[in-house]
């Protein structure tokens, strides 16, 4: 087959990040996280463990939350990537960003970008009716987003400062939950 994309060295790719087409030249080993941080200078996404265990690098790809450290940038041509920078900015915060500020949903802040991107994806998954490990009956058609549900659905995001109670409160507030 056509091998035009194959290269032992560097590959030129185009990524759509936060609504903008970005051209960059990368070694195929470059993770999506490193492409965002080191090539595009979008340093909001954080590198915690770099092994998919902490969730600090969570971004949205085609609306789905993923860890950007366990995927290669070259695999994402044609995808829509949204980082924390694309959700909102000072003066125009995303409702989840505003809720994290209002509820003090962090201490050091290192996990916060990942927590917020993950929560955006998580609330969308719940709107689609997806069950979780905390759902008593996976066949249920209506699943209330209880505290236990939110904690389970957010278990891929660790907070070493253990700001979990306030993260939970922020997500409930932004999600319009009692």
């Amino acid at each position: 087959m056509a091998d035009k994309n194959a290269s032992a060295d560097h590959t030129r790719i185009e990524l759509e990040v936060n609504g903008h087409e970005q051209a960059l030249t990368v070694d195929p080993r470059t993770t999506l996280l490193d492409a965002l941080r080191e090539h595009l200078r979008l340093t909001g996404s954080k590198k915690g463990c770099d092994h998919g265990q902490c969730g600090a690098c969570t971004v949205l790809v085609n609306g789905m939350r993923i860890v950007s450290c366990l995927t290669f940038a070259v695999m994402h041509e044609g995808d829509e990537i949204t980082t924390i920078e694309g959700l909102g900015e000072p003066g125009q915060l995303h409702p989840l960003q505003a809720a994290f500020v209002a509820h003090d949903g962090f201490q050091c802040g290192y996990c916060t970008s990942g927590q917020i991107c993950s929560a955006v994806g998580m609330l969308d998954e719940h709107r689609k009716g997806w069950p979780s490990h905390a759902t008593p009956d996976v066949a249920a058609t209506a699943i209330a987003l209880s505290d236990a549900e939110i904690r389970e659905r957010m278990s891929g995001n660790l907070c070493r400062c253990a700001a979990y109670p306030n993260i939970l409160a922020a997500i409930k507030d932004a999600g319009g939950l009692p």
Binding site: M1, A2, D3, N5, A6, S7, A8, T11, D27, P28, R29, T31, D50, H51, G52, G55, T58, M64, R65, I66, V67, L70, T71, F72, V74, M75, E77, S118, G121, M122, E125, K128, G129, W130, P131, S132, H133, T135, D137, V138, A139, R151, E152, R153, M154, S155, G156, N157
Partner: protein
């Protein structure tokens, strides 16, 4: 990470050809396990063939059951209405594994092919027959709390870490594959993974370049279904022991080098034995290695509890 070349496959046969004809080439789909292992230089492919854009991401009705495309993401499969209603054990098992972010990326075929999380497989400073054939097994007399009590060998006691595959095992799933030249196979999941014996580096029946295209499920068996998992924390951890029950079938996870169908327990139940006797017949040949001895009584209790839960589900 070792350098590699990359290509995005345009169609299925081209993808198979690209891996078959090239030494040390690999398919990549979700990548959540492969890339982690590449960072640690445990996997060192020279060429990656990206199969994410192949048309293998549908879940279709087939012969009264379901045909699940190899690229269906774990989260999509767990959320599928047909799976939740007819195969709840599969939905429950998927949701008990990994995190939301990883399930959004991980695929059906990739989940089957993920490697063990044995700490010595990950530690390149220690002997491991699976990583470096002939170097020895550090787990036998080492930190083996997570390791196998069934199906291991003197060469390897690593466990297969999947939750999904345990549910598929109890559902009598089959794995469909394609090879170069168009040869298709349908392999019972029970035979798909192989026990370590003296060659723990060989984990499945797949031949070089053979691509998984789908997993098929026959119609669900009569009776209740349930999946239970015990792990070291409440979420986002691998199983110490897990049990899948569907009707009168039982499979175990976290205890063996492959999803472990408890055929001895099933046979005992069918011949009128009590659940306690059935569990004990399955575990009669179980072997602990010190730190993982606790898995034997834990597995016995988990079989009993999951059987009871499945019966409750059938009544409900």
């Amino acid at each position: 990470m070792k350098p590699f070349t990359y290509e995005r496959a345009a169609d299925t046969q081209a993808a198979i050809g690209a891996v078959t004809g090239r030494p040390n080439a690999k398919f990549i789909a979700g990548g959540t396990n492969l890339i982690d292992l590449m960072k640690l230089q445990i996997e060192t492919p020279a060429h990656l063939v990206d199969v994410n854009h192949l048309p293998l991401a549908k879940i279709e009705e087939a012969d009264g059951g379901l045909r699940i495309g190899a690229l269906v993401r774990n989260s999509s499969l767990a959320a599928d209405r047909r799976v939740r209603e007819r195969y709840p054990v599969l939905s429950e098992a998927l949701l008990a594994g990994a995190s939301g972010q990883l399930r959004n990326k991980a695929t059906t075929a990739g989940n089957l092919l993920q490697r063990t999380r044995c700490v010595y497989f990950y530690n390149r400073d220690m002997p491991c027959n699976k990583r470096e054939p002939g170097s020895g097994c550090s787990a036998l007399e080492g930190v083996n709390r997570m390791n196998a009590i069934l199906g291991g060998s003197a060469s390897c006691i690593a466990v297969h870490p999947s939750d999904m595959a345990v549910a598929m095992s109890v559902l009598d799933a089959r794995v469909e594959t394609l090879s170069a030249g168009g040869e298709a196979r349908s392999i019972p999941l029970a035979d798909f993974h192989v026990l370590p014996g003296e060659k723990p580096e060989e984990e499945t029946q797949l031949r070089p370049g053979e691509l998984i295209t789908a997993v098929t499920l026959p119609p669900p068996p009569k009776g209740g279904q349930a999946y239970r998992k015990v792990r070291d924390r409440a979420s986002y951890a691998f199983a110490l022991v897990s049990v899948a029950v569907a009707g009168d079938r039982i499979a175990l996870g976290g205890v063996a080098p492959k999803p472990w169908r408890a055929t001895r327990a099933e046979t005992a139940l069918q011949s009128g034995a009590s659940p306690v006797e059935a569990a004990e017949s399955e575990l009669a040949g179980a072997q602990g290695h010190g730190p993982n001895d606790f898995k034997i009584p834990l597995a016995r209790r988990m079989i009993l509890r999951t059987l009871a839960q499945s019966t409750e589900m059938a009544r409900a």
